[in-house]
């Protein structure tokens, strides 16, 4: 791979791409100049990732052209795009977990390969060089599965830079990062613009404001806005994105001390690696309140949610739900008792991707008399249920017979939310409910959670977004290393206090 010529200007003209049943990109045109950062924003399913996959040579456009420095180019494979200096960091990292960082980079660095001989030394040297030049620290000999998400992100960046990228495409680079990692990444990217152009996709308008020079907004596959970032406030951009004003709702109800309905006492639970992920945790959720659980991910949030829902065995301590001891009861028993669950991993735990939307909507209730005559499903009722939930939860899909997995992230989340809330749970455990979800869907999900609270449900809201926790919670508990460090009322809580507690500093 020879070093690509500098990209002074990249121009997309009239790009159109269809998938079965969906027009993903509709006559999209945009340009990026050298040293410029273009933010590409839009709701889930607006066609941003598809457009960037076309630019990276992964998808072929049905119509339209790409031109670099005024010369038309065609990318049939990702190799073609790399050869012209375009590199993409995908939202789901493109790394092989059981290989080292060096091996992962070597996969794409063909000039270091001799016949039958893999020159890992040269690759390693190149990694060190790039990592030092761009101040992206990484251990080239570590296996990818050993690295944190933030470190994997850096590996992706280094990999792309090692291939000689002049224009970086970043697809939601911060969606899986903690707040600290996000700030760190933004800083590094800012420094890199001295030499590179960047197109980045994001839902977080704060980041868009901070990092980008220009912003292009996609809606339903078409560009609805393209202009300078500094001329617009985040609220204006949000309105352009959804086509209406967006107001994230706030919990303005009074703190009502209802009875405790979901309690954890001295809970000890092992994590996947065998250590105690929960180490004597105490927590109670009352009826009619939202209890926010703040904390840096990996401090026991997932294990807590799984222990409460019966998915993970409890070593010692008790789980009480509606005043009954439910420790180590099966998930079925917890569901039957009225516990709702919005899991962290929506693609694998939240839905069955190959099942249709309407099937996914009755996953917990299909054996009930409403949806079946003992052994035969009432297909008509299942379809009616899906149509009514699709309308009331604003689920955007071509049909309720479409596969659940073919929906965008925000709409999958709405399917899960619809299924769980339609069951009117006494208590709901909601884990990262708006991770990777656009503003419009976020507003909707928040208002639904608040509505459930008003109806008397108790909600445990696990999130990394302080904004979300502070907007919605009545009380906020901070989890650190498997214990609750402190519980604050929403009046006491400030960003600073929470930030310190999340870092493990209790006064």
């Amino acid at each position: 791979m020879a070093k690509a010529q500098p990209i002074h200007e990249l121009q997309l003209t009239g790009i159109t791409k269809r998938f079965p049943g969906i027009l993903a990109c509709n006559n999209v045109s945009m340009r990026v100049a050298r040293g410029e950062v273009l933010a590409l924003v839009g709701e889930n399913g607006a066609g941003k990732s598809t457009l960037m996959n076309i630019l990276a040579g992964l998808y072929q456009p049905d119509a339209g052209t790409i031109a670099i420095n005024g010369e038309e180019v065609r990318f049939h494979t990702p190799n073609d795009a790399y050869a012209r200096g375009i590199g993409m960091v995908h939202q789901n990292f493109m790394l092989v977990p059981n290989m080292t960082v060096t091996e992962n980079v070597a996969l794409g660095l063909k000039q270091h390969h001799r016949f039958m001989n893999l020159d890992l030394k040269a690759t390693r040297a190149r990694i060190v060089e790039v990592s030092e030049h761009h101040e992206l620290p990484v251990n080239p000999d570590a296996y990818v599965w050993q690295l944190s998400v933030g470190e994997q992100q850096r590996v992706e960046l280094i990999k792309t830079l090692c291939f000689g990228a002049q224009l970086l495409i970043l697809d939601e680079p911060t969606s899986a990062l903690t707040p600290q990692e996000t700030d760190d990444l933004i800083d590094r990217l800012k420094r890199m613009t001295a030499e590179l152009s960047i197109i980045f996709i994001s839902h977080k308008l704060q980041e868009v404001k901070e990092l980008s020079h220009r912003v292009a907004i996609l809606r339903h596959g078409a560009v609805v806005f393209n202009g300078r970032t500094e001329d617009h406030t985040p609220a204006e951009l949000a309105a352009l994105m959804t086509g209406r004003e967006v107001h994230l709702p706030r919990n303005e109800g009074l703190l009502v001390e209802g009875p405790a309905i979901l309690e954890a006492r001295d809970l000890k639970v092992r994590g996947d690696r065998g250590h105690f992920a929960l180490d004597g945790l105490n927590l109670e959720v009352h009826a009619g309140e939202i209890l926010g659980l703040a904390g840096v991910s990996g401090n026991g949030q997932r294990e807590l949610a799984e222990a409460l829902t019966g998915l993970r065995p409890v070593e010692s301590g008790t789980v009480r739900f509606l005043h009954k001891d439910m420790t180590n009861k099966s998930p079925a028993a917890m569901i039957a008792a009225g516990l709702g669950y919005i899991p962290e991993d929506r693609h694998h735990e939240g839905i069955v991707p190959r099942f249709t939307v309407k099937e996914n909507l009755v996953l917990k209730d299909f054996p009930t008399p409403r949806f079946s005559w003992s052994v035969v499903l009432k297909l008509g009722e299942i379809a009616r249920n899906a149509e009514s939930l699709k309308a009331s939860f604003d689920i955007r899909c071509s049909s309720t017979s479409a596969a659940g997995g073919s929906l965008s992230g925000g709409n999958i989340q709405k399917v899960i939310l619809a299924r769980e809330l339609a069951r009117e749970p006494k208590a709901l455990i909601s884990v990262y409910p708006t991770r990777g979800v656009d503003m419009g869907a976020q507003e909707f999900i928040h208002s639904q959670l608040l509505a459930r609270r008003r109806a008397g449900g108790g909600i445990l809201l696990i999130s990394e977004e302080l904004e979300e926790i502070m907007n919605l919670s009545d009380r906020i508990a901070v989890i650190y290393k498997g214990r609750i460090l402190k519980v604050l009322t929403s009046l006491e809580a400030t960003r600073e206090k929470l930030g310190l507690l999340m870092a493990g500093v209790a006064e």
Partner: protein
């Protein structure tokens, strides 16, 4: 007496492992690239028959020594062709791999048997490959006879173990194979043609299964019969799991199985009172036991095993 028994079991077990070892190393490449080829048995049947055929025809002529070499070459070529066929069906047409594999197994078994009846008819022996003791090494007491007093294919098969390791972990192609089987989307995004790599791996795997089959007819049994392969192709697939997709692990599995087999023979020959059926069962029971106990550490294996690659699939 015990000394002799142990010696016999070991020196018989080592050459028994060759057919399994070759086929299993080939299957390891298939699976590392993400393709599960249950048709290994069928390829071995074809390899066994087509390897036998030249040796059978040239048996009496002056070309007899070349018959065996030609036999191995034909068997490997047939394996490549069957690997290609399997790749066409499972990689290009994305057919269900398990079902396609059963199809390939039935096809290999049926075609080999039919051709055998047509060209050969009854059971006939061939000369086979002679022993080739390694000078010096074969005179080491005890070990010399066990390790260095075999036909050349035994040495070749054992050299394939480090060669496979080098190929898999130290060459660009091996890197591509491992990526294609574990994270094909990542490989694709880095400009690796995942399907081409899978085709190549299946051709290599086919060639090795073909050689494994030919070893059975040319070196081990020195004849061909319908049931010559007798499930070794399936055992070879199981050994890949047992060996956690590493060449050394596969070697260990092949040796364990073949030693159990020669132990069973030794028990019979020694006339020890032990039900014959149980003795025959022994190696198979061993594989089932080992497979059900060795379920941990999936991390190292190809996580996309059995999943056809489709770049534009949306989930």
């Amino acid at each position: 007496m015990t000394h002799d028994l142990v010696y016999n079991i070991l020196s018989l077990g080592v050459p028994f492992s060759v057919a399994l070892l070759l086929a299993s190393l080939g299957e390891m490449f298939n699976q590392r690239a993400g393709v599960f080829n249950l048709g290994c048995e069928g390829i071995m049947c074809m390899g066994a028959f087509l390897g036998f055929l030249p040796a059978f025809f040239l048996k009496t002529g002056p070309l007899a020594p070349y018959g065996i070499v030609l036999g191995f070459a034909v068997a490997a070529a047939a394996g490549v062709a069957m690997g290609l066929l399997f790749a066409l069906v499972t990689v290009t047409f994305r057919a269900e791999q398990g079902i396609a594999g059963i199809g390939l197994q039935m096809m290999g078994w049926g075609v080999a048997g039919t051709l055998f009846r047509h060209f050969v008819g009854g059971v006939t022996g061939v000369e086979g490959l002679a022993s080739w003791p390694l000078p010096g090494l074969s005179r080491i007491p005890f070990l010399g006879g066990i390790l260095f007093n075999h036909n050349p294919m035994v040495y070749i098969a054992f050299l394939m173990v480090p060669a496979s390791w080098y190929l898999l972990f130290k060459t660009p192609w091996g890197l591509k194979v491992r990526a294609a089987g574990t994270e094909p989307r990542a490989a694709d995004s880095m400009g690796i043609n995942v399907n081409r790599v899978r085709y190549q791996a299946l051709m290599l795997g086919g060639a090795m299964a073909g050689l494994g089959g030919a070893y059975l007819s040319l070196c081990q049994a020195k004849m061909f019969a319908d049931d010559l392969v007798a499930g070794r192709g399936f055992i070879a697939v199981a050994l890949v799991y047992f060996g956690r997709w590493s060449p050394l692990g596969v070697l260990g599995g092949a040796l364990l199985f073949s030693l159990a087999q020669s132990l069973q023979l030794a028990i019979q020959v020694a006339g020890i009172k032990f039900p014959y059926e149980f003795a025959v069962m022994l190696p198979y029971v061993l594989v089932i036991l080992v497979l059900s106990l060795a379920r941990k550490a999936r991390m190292r294996g190809p996580t996309h095993l059995g999943v056809p690659f489709n770049r534009e699939m949306r989930y």
